[in-house]
Every structure is written in C-alpha cells, then in structure tokens.
Amino acid sequence: MIELREVTYSYPDSELPVLRNLCLEVAEGEFLLVIGASGSGKSTLLRCFNGLVPHFYGGTFGGQIRVAGRDPLVEGPRGMSAAVGFVLQDPESQFVVDSVEDELAFAMENHNLEPSVMRKRVEEVLDQLNIAHLRHRKINTLSGGEKQRVAIGAVLSLQPEVLVLDEPTSQLDPQAAEEVLTTLQKLNSDLGLTIVLSEHRLERVVQYADRVMYLPGHGESPLIGLPSQVLMQVDLVPPLIQVAKELEWRPLPLTIKEGLPFARHLSAYLQHKQDSESNNHSPDMAPKAVVDVRDVWFSYNGHEALTGLSLSVAQAEFVALMGRNGSGKTTLLKHIVGLLRPDRGRVELWGENIRGRDVEDLASRIGYVPQNPGSVLFADTLRDELDFTRRSHGLPTGGYDNLLQRLHLSDFADSYPRDLSGGERQRAAMAAILVADPDVILLDEPTRGLDYEQKQSLAQFLRALQGEGKTVLMSTHDVELVAQCADRVAILGEGEIVVDGPTREVMSNSMVFSSQISKLFRDNRFIAVADVLRALER
C-alpha cells in the first residue's frame, strides 16, 4: 500500500535532513504506529504520504514514494486526497464549515461527486464512526473527542485507502483519546483500512498496532518491527514496559492483562521480603496553608463552573488536580492567581484574602503557567523573554542561567522562542514564568504533546522545585506524571472536589485515575516504576 525507497528530505532553511535514506513498506490493512521523540521527524514522514511534504513545505526531496499506486510527488496533496485521508493533531484548527454534516461533505464537494453519492456516503460515515447523533450539531459545540472523530469522518467520506493521523489524541483528555483510538481500531479491523498513526502515549495504542516504527531523529535509520521487538530496543516506553524490561519479563507484556501474571508473582515475592519492614510514615504535622480556597462559587454564561469548592494547600506540598474536561480545574487555578474572581466565597493566600489585589501584583509570588505556551512567548530571544518578566516585576534583569540549565534550555537562550519544538516551547514558557521566582507554582496541563523523556525530566524538575520549598499545584490528565511526582491528588467533578487524598491511596482505590503500575499491583506501595525498583533493591 505504501512504499518508500531511499527517501531523504530536508526543510527549506535547514542543512540537516530530517529523513535520510528512509525505506518503508506498509501492507494493505496494516496498522502502523510511528513513535519517536518530539522533533524526530514523525510529522514530516506522515506528510510525505500525501505530498504535503514537499508540495506544501518546499525543501529538498530525494527518493521515491508510492502510496496506493500513486506518486505523491507528482500528484500533490490535492491529487492524493482521494487516496490518503490525513488528520491533524489539533482538533480546533482543521474545520472549514460550521456544521458536522457540511464538514463531512466538504471533501466530496471538492472532488465534484454527485449529490446522490454524497448523500449515501455521509450516511455511511456517520454510522461507521458512530457520530450520527452529532450530524446537525455545530462544530464549536463539540467536545475534543467528538471533533477528532468528525475530522476522521471528513476524510473518510472520500473512501481513502490509507488513513494517516498525526498525533490525533495529543490534545485530548484520556476519555476522549480512548474514543478516538477505539474508533481507529474498529476501522482497521472491520474495514481493513490501512492506518498509519503517530502517537506519544503508547500505552493506549500499542496493543492495536501490527507493527511499530521508531524514528530516532536526526535522520538516523528507523527501527521497524513487531511492537514487542521494537519496544525492547527503545527507551521511550510506557511504565509497564519499563518495569518489564528492567525485570526481564518475557514475552514482553504490552497490556496490563499480559503483565498481571508477572506482577502477581513479584508481589508474592516482595510481600515475603518486606514483611519484616515497618511502614515509616512521617507524622502528619499541620503546616500553615499557603493557598486556601473557601467555598468558592463561580459561573459564566449560565454554566456553573465551581460549586462551593474548598481546597487548602500547605507550604511545599505538591497537589495534582485531576478530572474530566470542564470539571473546573483551569477555573480553579485562575481563581488562585486572581484572573477570575469568585461569585461567592473567598481565596486566601498566606492567610490574606486576595479580593481587590491586582493579578500583576499577585503574580510576583504566584507563577501560573498557562496551557498554551504560545500565548506567553512573544520576544525575539528567550533571554529577552525572561528579562521582560523580570522587568515587569521590578526585578533586575539577568541571573537566570541556573534556571535555563535546569530546564535544559541553556543552548536556546538566544534563539527565537517560537522556533523551538513543542517540548522546548513548553519549558521556555515555564522559564518565562518561573524566572520571577514565585513561591507558589500553578501549572495548567503541562504535559500536552510531551514524550516520555520530556515528561520524566519535567517530573524531576518539579520535584526539585518542591524540594526547595515551593508549593506546586498542577492540573493534569496524565496519571503517570501524577504517580511520579504529586503527594496529593484532588479529583474534581462538576465544580466540586470529589476525592482528595494522598496520591498512593487515591490511585490504588480508583479504576480511572490510576497509573499503569498501580493497576498492575493494586498495592499502594507501588504507583510508579521507581517504587517497584526501590523495593527490589532493598
């Protein structure tokens, strides 16, 4: 179905090729998962299949491609559109018209299909993707998962032979991502549609994939093979596989189900070993609350976002806020930094009500890193960006070399922040906030689009900040990150706190908000890979 021979490509203003002498064959009906660190060329590779690379981006291209018997180099993205369906990462920016049904028809209209054919195909697509109930809805009223399914439908209506998706779930919360991925799996197994998917969160898709392709980046040659073979040789793996590799579980378990027998065995062993050890819990002292949210109510546009929410966070505590999209996590964070003011109730910082205090004023002691780093960065260099924050707070410029080093940004101090890759940008935005040295750090969804390695180093960085006495409050969907670094989890639902407790307890008692390791052992001593390895070392 897809055949690449000796493909080499470099972007217009770069010397280094992103892809070098790449060869790949994908059979009809195959589900290929493409993995690799951010910036390793996954998106570039996927864009070769329909000719967006090099037609849309320019640059120099060498080698041959055949997709569904056509040559994307000759036909270009428009010519390839009937053979290759292409779905982008961001559900917000790939819609042309405002209603679902019209969006499904858009591609067919471009191809001048008969109205009767269009009618039939729209019905088919609505059923295939289980979105018939959305047909009359306006796109902007849909949830992220629904949007991505409509985006898939919008390309399926041309009945392509290959479906190519560039990190379709990286902007979605776990439930929405699940919706999209099960849809893909169904399309692949029921219709035999060839699917090429790039994805960071392997734990959700690796069981569906027939083969995995790992791109190491810098034009190095990729690894292609069965999932278990490739994952054995790759460092970017989910916690389950990390543990399995460490402990040499063979055959390599890809799902929790496959890992359970190994885990049972290990638990029994550890039980035996640790019986003698006592549980040394640090005695609970009652430290002073730094952030104290008391019975806060807030609604906008008639929608009740917070309904009598109370939360108290102590000095040097690390709290993760979890919960569905729209459960009020971001609204809560914005209340703490004063961007939103409660309709009722109060927010206290260091025992003082913040009513009437300026955001700009509060911001010198509270750093809030928003979800989208693009809304922060504007300066010509990262250095200017950091100086700007320092000046705004009336601090002397400079003096942040250490911070840059800790965030692995030293090399980029003089580069244009918007040119950085996704993960680097995220860290640059974080640096731009943290450079004011706030005591409380609020993070809104800091792991969107990050790969395992970047998440790992983010977790370490945040832990280190906490070690220095900073208070961290983070809203996230990422249970693995929470398992690695948060002490306490507060789960929000419908504007209230539903569960609030130590991470270990919450994770071992929950089915949804639970890390892979926690699901594997169902034991509150083990929620992250490090826990398991530490227990074995003793």
Partner: protein
C-alpha cells in the same frame, strides 16, 4: 428549520418595505414583526448573541439621527423650543448651523429615519441569526463560491482571535505586565499574530489534504497571470468610475460605460476562473409545507407593497414638513407587513427539535 430559499424570500419581503417606506407606522409594524420573529425562533439559534450587538448599533445610529436632525434642521412650522444658535464659518460659507429653533417636524423626521435604520439593521440581524451561512454560501453562483468560501473562513477566524486574545492578555498579566502605552501592546500583538498564523497554516494543510482548490487552472502559468491582470484592470476601472461619479456632480456617460464595462469584465473573468473549478454541492435541505406557506405569504407581501408603491410612491412616504400631521395608515399594507411574522408558525416544532 426553514429552507434557505425561504429565508432569502423572507429577507426580501422584509427589506422591500423597509427600503420603500418612510412612514413611521409601517416601520414600527415591521420592526415589531421582525422582533417577534426573532424572539420566537431566532433565540434558539447558536448565533443569537449577535442580535443584541445589531440592536445596540441600531439604537446608537437612531439616536444620532434624531440629534442631528433636531440640531441642524430648522425647517418646519411647529417650534418646540429655541436653543442658543451656533454657526461655524469657513471663510464666508456657513458650514454648520447648530441649535436655534428646534421643530417638532425635525424630530419626527429624525425619528422616522432612525426607525428605518433600526428596521434595516434588525432585519439583517435576524436573517443572520436564522439562516445557515454555509447553506447560503452554497446558493451563490459557482464563480463566487471560492471567494465566498475563503471569506467565510476568514470571518470564522474572528471569534477564535478574540478568544486567543483573552488567553494572551491573561498570560501576559500573570507575568506582571501592565499595559500603559502602545509599545506595551507588543506582548499582546505578537503572540496573537503568530498563533493566528499557525492556525491558518494548519487549516490550509487540512483543506489541501481534502482536495480544496482549483486543480485545472493551476496548470498554465500564463493564463493565471492573464486572469490576474484582467481582475486588476476591472477593479481599477470600477475605482475610476466611482471616483468620476463623486468628482463630477452630473454623472458623465463615459463613467457609466466604464463602470458597466469593468463590472462585466470582472464577472466574466471570475466566471472563467470558476469554470476551471469543478466542484459539486451538497444539498440536503427539505422543502416542507411550512416553507410553501411562508413563501406564499412573503411573495404576496412583496406584491402588495410593490403594487402600492408603483401606483403612488408617495403612498408609502411620510413627510412631516412643513407642518406636522399624523402619518396615514393603510390596513392592507399593515397586514402585508405581517407576512414577516409567518415563520413563527413552525416555532413549536423547532423548539422540540432543538431540545433533542
């Protein structure tokens, strides 16, 4: 919901009297009818929030119209009160004459003009709320479709820009940034521009990957250049004609010919380009019985209004000068105007549909 063609007829039936009449009683009737139509069915639309904006704009314009007439027009026999007079001179020419005798007639005239402005704005506002824009776009001739499509996408960007502006403003505020002058706008403007650009590139990719764009015309470079030159010439011709019209008080025949010729050239070229783009249109609209009813009502209303106007254009007009008298009211025209309310017939059904 109604068929797009029904809405187009409705727009015509509402606009025709709004344009033709200057009688405040007819205008008030029309306004009331439009407001009822919006209130019963327009409110259900997701676009409903835009109506208020139109209403506010209309009221501001109407107030301005009343004030302007009251202060600058001194005709009319019924003097209500006398204000101190202020005359601005430019050389020997009096260019502005404010205050002085304020007449009831000028108030009536100002109110009527204001009413007509509000009516026209609200008719468009209601149409805007009720009609499905993309379906409307599909009704446009092929050669306009591409341009219309791109315009509609550009318009759709505006709300996105507004929401990202809010996000950016917050992000800069929490860095301690205070906005004091023009230079301080840079941290707002740059992210807004770059975010918008990134979004535009993604959208372009997505559209290209779904086969949008003219395939056949892009083949020959020479033809493309010719088309561009022709469009530029036509636009220049139109501009020159418009300029001539505003410059000379009497419209010279040459400029009329130029305008017509340029317009024909523009349409012709666009049609030639449009012929290169082969694309079909997805229609899935039902023509229900209520569409027939509303259409008949709108059509009859247009016929009655036009009939009255053709027989005697002054029948629809109300001129308060020199002495104020109450405007006439013809019950037949009044009834005809109520055709604008007929879409309300289907309100119960639509409400049920919306609550699904």
């Amino acid at each position: 919901m109604y068929h797009t063609v029904t809405w187009m007829l409705w727009l015509f039936a509402a606009l025709l009297p709004a344009m033709l009449t200057r009688n405040p009683l007819y205008l008030a009737t029309l306004l009331l009818a439009v407001a009822v139509a919006y209130n019963t069915i327009g409110r259900l639309s997701p676009m409903a929030s835009s109506w208020g904006v139109f209403l506010k704009a209309g009221l501001i314009l109407a107030t301005l119209s009343v004030l302007f007439n009251l202060l600058t027009v001194h005709y009319g026999d019924t003097v209500m009160f006398t204000l101190p007079r202020l005359t601005l001179h430019l050389g020997r020419l009096a260019i502005l004459d404010l205050g002085g005798q304020t007449t009831l007639e000028s108030l009536a005239y100002g109110l009527t003009s204001g009413l007509s402005l509000v009516a026209i704005l609200l008719i468009f506002a209601t149409f805007n709320v009720l009609v499905d824009h993309h379906r409307l776009l599909r009704r446009t001739p092929a050669f306009l479709y591409q341009t219309g499509m791109i315009t509609s996408i550009a318009v759709a960007f505006v709300p996105q820009m507004v929401s990202s502006l809010q996000e950016i403003r917050e992000a800069q505020a929490i860095r301690g940034h205070r906005f004091r002058g023009i230079r301080n706008l840079l941290p707002l403007f740059v992210p807004l521009l770059t975010t918008g650009l990134e979004r535009a590139i993604q959208l372009a990719e997505s559209m290209e990957a779904r086969g949008f764009g003219s395939v056949s015309t892009s083949r020959s470079k020479g033809r493309q250049t010719l088309q561009r030159v022709l469009i530029a010439t036509a636009l220049f011709g139109l501009l020159a004609a418009a300029f001539a019209r505003s410059y000379y008080s009497s419209v010279p025949l040459a400029s009329v010919l130029l305008a017509l010729g340029s317009a024909a050239l523009l349409v012709g070229t666009l049609m030639a380009i449009g012929r290169g783009v082969k694309r079909s249109r997805y229609h899935r609209e039902l023509w229900r019985r209520r569409d027939t009813l509303v259409s008949i009502a709108c059509f009859t209303s247009c016929a009655i209004t036009a009939g009255f106007w053709l027989r005697n254009p002054n029948a629809l007009f109300f001129y308060p000068y020199p002495r104020f008298s109450l405007p006439d009211f013809n019950a037949v025209i009044g009834l005809a105007l109520l055709a604008v309310v007929t879409p309300v017939l289907a309100a119960p059904k639509m409400r049920r549909h919306n609550s699904d």
